[in-house]
C-alpha cells in the first residue's frame, strides 16, 4: 500500500489537510511515525476508512472530521500526514467497505 506505483497513473495523492469541507475522502496511506499512529488507528482512522472534514475551528485551530459517524478533531500537521483520495475515485481502487 505504501509503494510508489500509484504515482505513475494517478496525480500525487492529496493529504487530508488539503480537502475542502464536506468532501468525503478515503485514507490510503498514513505517514505517521512510530507510536504516534496508534491514537489515530484506535479511533478508527485506518487505511481504507472514509473521512469528511466538517468544520474548521477558529483561528486556524484543529479541524473537525467525521469518521464513521462521529467527530474527531485533528491539527493541520497531523491531517497533512494522511494521504487521501476522493471517495468516488477510491471506490474503484480500494475496497472501501
Amino acid at each position: 500500500m505504501g509503494s510508489r506505483r500509484d504515482s505513475a497513473s494517478k496525480p500525487a495523492d492529496r493529504t487530508l489537510a488539503d480537502v475542502p469541507l464536506e468532501e468525503e475522502v478515503v485514507v490510503v496511506r498514513m505517514e505517521v511515525a512510530g507510536e504516534d499512529i496508534e491514537p489515530l488507528l484506535e479511533r478508527g482512522i485506518v487505511p481504507g476508512c472514509k473521512v469528511c472534514p466538517v468544520r474548521h475551528s477558529p483561528a486556524g485551530g484543529p479541524t473537525v472530521y467525521r469518521v464513521d459517524g462521529h467527530l474527531i478533531a485533528l491539527r493541520r500537521e497531523t491531517a497533512s500526514c494522511l494521504c487521501v483520495r476522493s471517495a468516488l475515485e477510491a471506490a474503484g481502487v480500494l475496497d472501501a467497505n
Partner: protein, 645 residues
C-alpha cells in the same frame, strides 16, 4: 497452579466460589462509552476510589448487592485498545490478565460499547474477548440509537460474538436487568457466565501480539476494523443519523467569531462562580470552623493538648476546609462541562494558543482549575494523554493564581497600595491585583516554553480529540463525581496540612520556659529559624518576623496571615485588619512589600501541591525541581522589586 493452567476455561463456576471476597467483574470500554454511568447505575454510592499501586491511574470499584450474593465491580479506565501505549491501557491490560501486582484477575468482564458508534467501538471486541474470560457485551445509548434512526439486532450480534449481548440505557435502572442477571450468574453459575467467548487461535494470538508487535500495528488495526464492520453487518447494525442538535450547537460553539466568545464567556462564568458566588459559602465555612474551634476550646481544660488541637489541628485543617465550597463549585462546573460534551470543544478552541506555548488543548482544564487550587488541577492533568505535555502542564499549574494567594495579596495591597484611581474606573489596587494575576500567567507560559525547549523536548505528538455528541448531564452522575472528587481532595490535602500544622505548632512551643509555659514567638524554635534565614532574606527587604511568616507559609500560603497576626500580637487575624496593616507598615516599605507580593506570585509555598505532584509524577524529581525553580524565580523577582522600588 502446578499443571492446572487450563482449568479456568472448563469450570468457571467453582473457581468463582472458591476465590476470596466477592466475585469480581471488570468494566472495560472506550472513553465516553457510558461506562461510568453504567457503573454508577449498578453500584450507586457503594463505591470507592483509590490508585493502582505505584501509578496515577485511578481505581474505581463498587459493590453490587444482589439477593444471591454481592459482586465487586471494577470500573477500568476508558481505553481504545489493550496495547500498552498509555498508562491507562497498560493498567487495563494487566488488570484483565491478572498481571497487576496485588490485584487478582477478575472472574468476568463486561465490555461496554457505545451503541451509536458500534462500527468503531467493536474494534475493542477482539482483544477483550481474546482474553477468554466470561464476557457480557453491553451496548449503551439505546435511546439515542433509536432516536437517530439507527438499530442493531442484539441476538445476531450475540450469535456472532459467542457471548451475551445487552442493549441498555445506562441511566435507566430498569434496563440494566440483563447486566444484573449476568452478575447474579457469577453466584448461581448460570449459563450467562458459562458462555465463555469462542476464541479462535487467530484471535488469541492477535490479543497477545498487540504488545509483542508481531503484526505491523497498522495492519492489525485495519484487520480489526474490517472485522468490526463484518460483525456490524451480520448484526444488521444500522448507522444512526449524525446528531442534529450536536451539529447545530457546534456551528455556534466552534464558529469563527462566536466560538471564542462562548469560550471566554464560559471561563468568565466559572470565575464569577468560584470568586463571587463561593464567597458567602466560604465565609460560612470559616465561621463554622472558628465556632467549632471555640466550642472545643471552651470545653477542654487549658493544656498543651488543647493548644495543639486548636492552634495546630483546627487552624491547619480549617485553612484547607475553607476552600472546599470553592473547589466543589469548580468541580461541579467541570463535571457539567465534561458530561455535556463542551469540554472537548473548549480543548479544541484552546489548542492553537496552548500549542504555541508548548502545551495542548487538553491542558486548558487543569490550568483553569488551578485558579481555584493547584491540587485538583494537578489531578485534572491526567486528562492530558501525552506524557510530556502532562508533566509540562503539572509543572506550570502552581504559577496560576490560586485562591490561597488572595488573602496575602489582599493584606499587602490594602496596606501598601493607595486606593486612588489609576486610569478611568480602574483603581490602583485592582490594577495591582490584575498585574499579579498576569505575572503568574506569564511565568506559566514562559516556563512551559522553556521546558518544551529543554527537558521535555521532542517531536510533538498528534493531537487527536474526540468530540462526543452533546448530552444532557445527569444530576446523579454530577453528584457522584462531586462526592468522589471531594473525598480525594480532602484526603490528599488534609493529610499533609495536618502533618505540617502539627509540626509548626511544635516549633512554636519549644523550648518551653522554666515553668513549662510556651516561649515568646521570637524565642521559639520557629522564631530562631526566622532569625537564621534573616541574612538570606535581608536583600529582599524582609526581617526575621517576615521570615517566620515565610517558613510557615511553606505549609500553605494563606497561613502567613495568621502567623503575622500572632507575631505582631494582633488580636484579630482578619486579613482586613487595620492593626495588622499598621504593624506591617512599620516593618516593610513599598519596595519590600512589592517584593513580598512577587515572592508569593512565584514561590511554591504549598506542601499539598508538592505532595500531589510527587504522587502524579511518580517520584521526587519533578517536585524537587519545581520547588527549586520557583524559589529561585521568587527570590530573583523579589530582589529586583526591592532593589528598584
Amino acid at each position: 497452579m502446578s499443571n492446572g493452567a487450563q482449568s479456568a476455561s472448563i469450570a468457571p463456576a467453582p473457581a468463582v466460589a472458591s476465590s476470596p471476597g466477592h466475585p469480581r467483574v471488570a468494566l472495560v470500554g472506550p472513553p465516553n462509552s457510558g461506562k461510568s454511568t453504567l457503573f454508577n447505575g449498578l453500584t450507586g454510592l457503594r463505591q470507592k476510589v483509590a490508585n493502582y499501586p505505584g501509578v496515577t491511574v485511578e481505581r474505581r470499584s463498587g459493590v453490587v448487592v444482589e439477593a444471591v450474593g454481592s459482586v465487586e465491580v471494577v470500573d477500568l479506565p476508558g481505553v481504545h485498545s489493550l496495547s500498552p501505549r498509555s498508562l491507562d491501557q497498560k493498567v487495563t491490560r494487566d488488570f484483565l490478565t491478572g498481571r497487576l501486582e496485588g490485584d487478582r484477575q477478575p472472574e468476568a468482564v463486561i465490555l461496554v460499547l457505545d451503541g451509536t458508534r458500534l462500527k468503531t467501538h467493536l474494534m475493542l471486541a477482539d482483544p477483550v474477548l481474546g482474553l477468554g474470560l466470561p464476557t457480557l457485551v453491553v451496548l449503551t445509548m439505546a435511546d439515542e440509537l433509536k432516536r437517530r434512526g439507527g438499530g442493531v439486532d442484539v441476538r445476531l450480534l450475540s450469535a456472532e460474538l459467542g457471548v451475551e449481548v445487552a442493549l441498555v440505557n445506562a441511566r435507566d435502572g430498569a434496563s440494566l436487568e440483563p447486566v444484573r442477571r449476568f452478575l447474579r450468574a457469577l453466584h448461581t453459575g448460570g449459563e450467562e457466565i458459562r458462555a465463555c467467548p469462542v476464541v479462535s487461535a487467530a484471535d488469541a494470538t492477535t490479543a497477545e501480539n498487540v504488545h509483542g508487535r508481531a503484526l505491523p500495528v497498522i495492519d492489525l488495526f485495519a484487520e480489526r476494523r474490517k472485522r468490526a464492520r463484518t460483525l456490524g453487518r451480520s448484526a444488521a447494525f444500522q448507522d444512526p443519523r449524525p446528531s442534529d442538535i450536536t451539529h447545530r450547537i457546534d456551528s455556534v460553539v466552534l464558529h469563527r467569531l462566536w466560538g471564542p466568545l462562548v469560550f471566554v464567556a464560559t471561563i468568565a462564568v466559572v470565575f464569577e462562580a468560584i470568586f463571587t458566588a463561593a464567597v458567602p459559602l466560604m465565609d460560612g465555612t470559616e465561621a463554622l470552623v472558628a465556632a467549632s474551634g471555640e466550642f472545643v476550646a471552651r470545653t477542654l481544660p487549658e493544656s498543651w493538648f488543647r493548644s495543639l488541637l486548636i492552634d495546630g489541628v483546627w487552624a491547619g485543617v480549617g485553612s484547607v476546609v475553607v476552600f472546599l465550597p470553592q473547589i466543589l463549585i469548580l468541580f461541579a462546573f467541570i463535571a457539567i462541562l465534561e458530561d455535556s460534551g463542551y469540554m472537548a470543544r473548549a480543548a479544541v478552541i484552546a489548542d492553537r494558543l496552548m500549542h504555541r506555548v508548548g502545551l495542548q488543548g487538553r491542558s486548558f482544564l487543569p490550568l483553569l482549575s488551578a485558579y481555584a487550587c493547584a491540587v485538583p488541577a494537578v489531578m485534572a492533568a491526567r486528562a492530558v494523554e501525552d506524557e510530556r505535555d502532562r508533566i509540562a502542564t503539572i509543572f506550570v499549574t502552581p504559577f496560576m493564581t490560586c485562591s490561597a494567594r488572595l488573602p496575602v495579596y489582599a493584606l499587602l495591597i490594602a496596606a501598601f497600595i493607595p486606593a486612588g484611581p489609576l486610569i478611568g474606573p480602574l483603581g490602583m489596587r485592582a490594577a495591582v491585583l490584575m498585574g499579579l494575576y498576569a505575572l503568574g500567567l506569564l511565568a506559566a507560559i514562559g516556563t512551559a516554553a522553556l521546558l518544551k525547549g529543554t527537558l521535555l523536548k521532542g517531536r510533538p505528538h498528534p493531537f487527536v480529540m474526540e468530540l462526543p455528541p452533546y448530552r444532557m448531564p445527569s444530576l446523579r452522575s454530577i453528584g457522584t463525581r462531586l462526592l468522589d472528587r471531594t473525598k480525594v481532595f480532602l484526603r490528599r490535602a488534609g493529610k499533609i496540612i495536618l502533618t505540617v500544622a502539627v509540626v509548626l505548632w511544635v516549633l512554636t512551643q519549644v523550648p518551653s520556659g522554666p515553668s513549662g509555659e510556651p516561649p515568646e514567638i521570637g524565642d521559639s524554635a520557629l522564631g530562631r529559624m526566622g532569625q537564621v534565614i534573616e541574612p538570606a532574606i535581608e536583600p529582599l527587604g524582609f526581617d526575621w518576623r517576615i521570615g517566620i511568616g515565610l517558613v510557615t507559609s511553606l505549609a500553605a500560603r494563606e497561613v502567613i496571615v495568621g502567623t503575622l497576626g500572632t507575631i505582631y500580637g494582633v488580636e484579630s487575624e482578619d486579613d482586613q485588619s487595620f492593626e495588622l496593616q499598621a504593624a506591617l507598615q512599620q516593618d516593610l516599605d513599598l519596595g519590600s512589600a512589592v517584593a513580598m507580593l512577587i515572592f508569593f506570585v512565584f514561590a511554591l509555598q504549598c506542601m499539598s501541591t508538592v505532595a500531589v505532584m510527587r504522587r502524579e509524577t511518580g517520584g521526587w524529581m519533578w517536585p524537587a525541581l519545581q520547588f527549586t525553580y520557583m524559589l529561585v524565580l521568587a527570590y530573583a523577582g523579589a530582589w529586583v522589586a526591592n532593589a528598584l522600588l
